[in-house]
């Protein structure tokens, strides 16, 4: 057996090679699959002349596009800063670790960044559950952390070293409730939430509270677990309550399938969601079933603002494809970090923390960033509608 085991693996690999090669070729939207580059280390030569930042993201796993987009945005910001001479005369570099979308891996990566790589500050994650796990490591170590796009309230409550450059779920839930009540003018909404995700449960709670406050009715709240592929039982129960819309505050990897099965069961009402929908994979997984549905988001790629257009052009040139909001927020988070490093009196944890906390009226591509006393950004949200292979800007909702 000792000799046959490697042989077995080799044979398995060969077998799969024979059958699977074609997988990579055509497929709709397949080219964009940025799934799984190896962890990238981008360092300028000469250790002493380099300021090292850390990043943790889901470069592989079910939510891989989140991590990849964020990393692209951060890289772009660093390249620009380095081209402009770096910070305090030193070049910037970032060390990226993949957490496969798992909180325990994210926590481990942070420990490694702090103890082994001795980074100045940490950027990440997208999923709130992962950011919370990271914050629990970064806060006691006194290393500042900026999450580009985690919206759950709890993340920045972990301590005074934890910041975010996006809005929070109470606001995002309010945005969709308001949109449903005022724009769609619906009265009865059902909810399908992901009970394994802090993000989804938080949004669902806020939406319920706000929507009921506006005179709407929640017909039922059903749950699923991330990674399920059969939602028919929940959707059948939802259909029975005859809602006028269904709020699905989940991640794109599940939402696409949910949309297909809802339509299959004859539930044709629009689906509503949050920024977890924002990925071009949504169009592939949801097909025509997801078209016509709405979600709240950090920015719209349709925005005419010059700094947004400029960012989108650069991003397209570097990575191909329109940046989603994770890309935009990764870019913003890195630029806020760079500006803070430039302002900080010294390159110690407390000094950098204080510098980040002073961020005010910072012109980000996903809205102007002012950090409040709870270290959250206060800024407007947009509502987008899904069309064939792209999104369309519908409206902006201010805080």
């Amino acid at each position: 057996m000792r000799r046959t085991a490697p042989l077995l693996l080799a044979v398995l690999a060969l077998l799969a090679a024979g059958c699977e090669k074609k997988t990579r070729q055509p497929a709709v939207g397949e080219e964009q699959k940025g799934g799984a580059e190896q962890p990238v280390v981008r360092e300028a030569p000469g250790e002493e002349d380099t300021l090292l930042l850390g990043e943790v993201g889901s470069l592989t796993g079910a939510q891989a596009t989140f991590g990849v987009s964020t990393r692209n945005g951060i890289e772009l910001a660093l390249e620009e800063a380095n081209a402009a001479g770096g910070v305090k005369g030193k070049k910037l570099a970032v060390r990226v670790y993949d957490d496969q979308g798992k909180p325990e891996e994210a926590a481990q990566a942070v420990t490694r960044l702090i103890t082994q790589d001795k980074v100045l500050l940490i950027l990440g994650e997208v999923a709130s559950s992962n950011s919370i796990a990271m914050a629990e490591k970064a806060q006691p170590a006194g290393v500042p952390m900026i999450t580009p796009s985690s919206t759950n309230v709890e993340v920045t409550q972990k301590g005074d070293y934890i910041f975010r450059v996006c809005f929070t779920d109470p606001f995002q839930g309010y945005v969709m409730a308001k949109f449903a009540a005022d724009h769609l003018k619906v009265k009865k909404v059902a909810i399908l939430q992901d009970n394994k995700s802090a993000y989804s449960m938080g949004l669902s709670d806020v939406f319920t509270e706000k929507f009921q406050g506006m005179g709407g009715r929640i017909t039922t709240r059903e749950s699923y677990s991330q990674g399920d592929t059969d939602f028919r039982a929940q959707l059948t129960a939802i259909k029975k309550t005859r809602p006028e819309a269904v709020y699905v505050p989940g991640y794109y990897s599940d939402v696409g399938v949910i949309a297909r099965q809802a339509r299959e069961l004859g539930l044709m009402v629009p689906l509503l969601g949050g920024d977890g929908w924002d990925s071009e994979k949504l169009f592939e997984l949801g097909g025509s079933a997801i078209q016509g549905s709405y979600f709240s988001n950090h920015y719209s790629p349709d925005s005419p603002e010059p700094r947004v257009r400029q960012f989108i052009d650069r991003y397209k040139k570097a990575y191909g494809g329109v940046p989603d909001s994770m890309g935009a927020l990764g870019y913003d988070a890195a630029r806020v970090a760079i500006a803070a490093l430039e302002r900080a009196e010294s390159l110690t944890g407390p000094a950098i923390r204080d510098a980040i906390a002073q961020t005010k009226d910072f012109p980000g591509v996903a809205g102007t960033i002012t950090l409040d006393e709870n270290r959250n950004a206060v800024k407007p949200a947009v509502v987008l509608q899904v069309e064939e292979g792209k999104t369309r800007f519908v409206t902006t909702v201010n805080p």
Binding site: M1, T4, A5, L7, L8, V11, L12, A13, L15, A16, A17, C19, E20, K21, K22, T23, R24, Q25, P26, A27, K33, G35, A36, E37, T60, G61, A62, A64, T65, Q100, N195, E222, S223, Y224, S225, G227, T229, D230, R232, A233, Q234, T236, A237, K239, K240, R242, S253, G256, V257, R260, Q261, E264, L265, G266, L267, M268, K281, E284, L285, G287
Partner: protein
């Protein structure tokens, strides 16, 4: 009432897939007394083979009758080969070793497949879920209730899946109880040493059993992919586990037991989610297993059936 019908349709669709996968567990257990934990992952590999074939065929050809048959054929043949290789190189060398060794090997293969397929090197698909192409053009065959909120919807592919599943089960039943090879299989399952003394080529019988089970898994996997559209390398773990539960509920080693167990489990899950809380689904599924084992330790069909496969 009409909601109940919809839940029945959903539950049977899920249940048939559990049943088909459970058949593979049960057959292998029957001849080897081995719980092949890699079975669900073999199913996953079959789905990706079907996926690759579907894309190789292109949009037009893959939804034609011959295209669909070819997809099933490639996936089932490929998985049969994979089953053969796993049996030959992983399990056969351990045949005379304690049973636990083979069990742990099975878990190892399961992880090697499900995590190996998450890599994004070369041919491997990477971890992100993908949409399985619509190889059967969906047609609504039947609706009930008002058109805006139909109470019951039945699609062509749901009926086709059920027919394919029943066909596969029928074929297996015939093979096991009506053919010479089936008799050899049953003999091996009774006692493979004595069977060998009677001149039955036990190694070959076991290898073919593995191939059959794996091919069935590939078929079940494709039905699953047609039904739920999203495929990912981890899909085999949970389906495999549920199918294993189904096989134990029905009485592991028993062919009709696996089918009944699969259908029961699918329906129980559907009704729990539909009428109680969706969070309870897995807890009830596994609780159901515990209750069945308390009342009938051999599973529903475990004792009454004299013959095992």
């Amino acid at each position: 009432m009409s909601e109940l019908i919809q839940h029945l349709i959903n539950g049977i669709a899920t249940g048939t897939i559990y049943a088909l996968v459970a058949l593979g567990y049960t057959m292998v257990y029957g001849v080897l007394k081995l719980i092949n934990f890699a079975h669900g992952d073999v199913m996953m590999v079959g789905v990706y083979m079907g996926y690759a074939t579907a894309f190789a065929l292109g949009r037009e050809a893959r939804s034609s009758l011959w295209g669909v048959l070819l997809i099933f054929l490639v996936a089932m043949a490929g998985c049969a080969l994979l089953g053969l290789i796993i049996e030959r190189f992983a399990y056969r060398p351990l045949r005379e070793k304690p049973r636990l060794t083979a069990l742990i090997t099975a878990i190892g293969i399961s992880f090697a497949l499900s995590y190996g397929f998450q890599l994004d090197i070369g041919f491997l698909p990477g971890a992100a879920p993908r949409a399985f192409p619509q190889i059967i053009q969906p047609v609504q065959w039947f609706t009930l209730g008002d058109p805006e909120f139909p109470d019951v919807v039945l699609w062509n592919w749901q009926v086709l899946s059920l027919l394919v599943a029943v066909g596969m089960m029928g074929g297996l039943q015939f093979l096991v109880y009506r053919t010479r090879f089936g008799r050899a299989m049953r003999a091996v399952s009774h006692d493979h040493r004595v069977a060998a003394l009677m001149g039955i080529p036990t190694d070959r019988v076991i290898a073919v059993t593995f191939m059959l089970g794996s091919a069935l898994a590939a078929g079940a996997g494709l039905l699953y992919a047609i039904k739920d559209t999203s495929v990912s390398p981890m899909m085999g773990l949970m389906v495999g586990l549920k199918a294993f539960v189904a096989a134990v509920i029905g009485g592991i080693g028993n062919v009709p037991g696996a089918m009944v167990g699969g259908l029961l489990l699918g329906l129980v899950e559907e009704f729990v989610v539909g009428y109680a809380a969706s969070t309870w689904r897995d807890a009830v599924a596994f609780g159901f297993l515990i209750i069945v084992l308390l009342v009938r330790p051999g599973g529903l069909f475990g004792r009454v059936a004299a013959e095992k496969v």
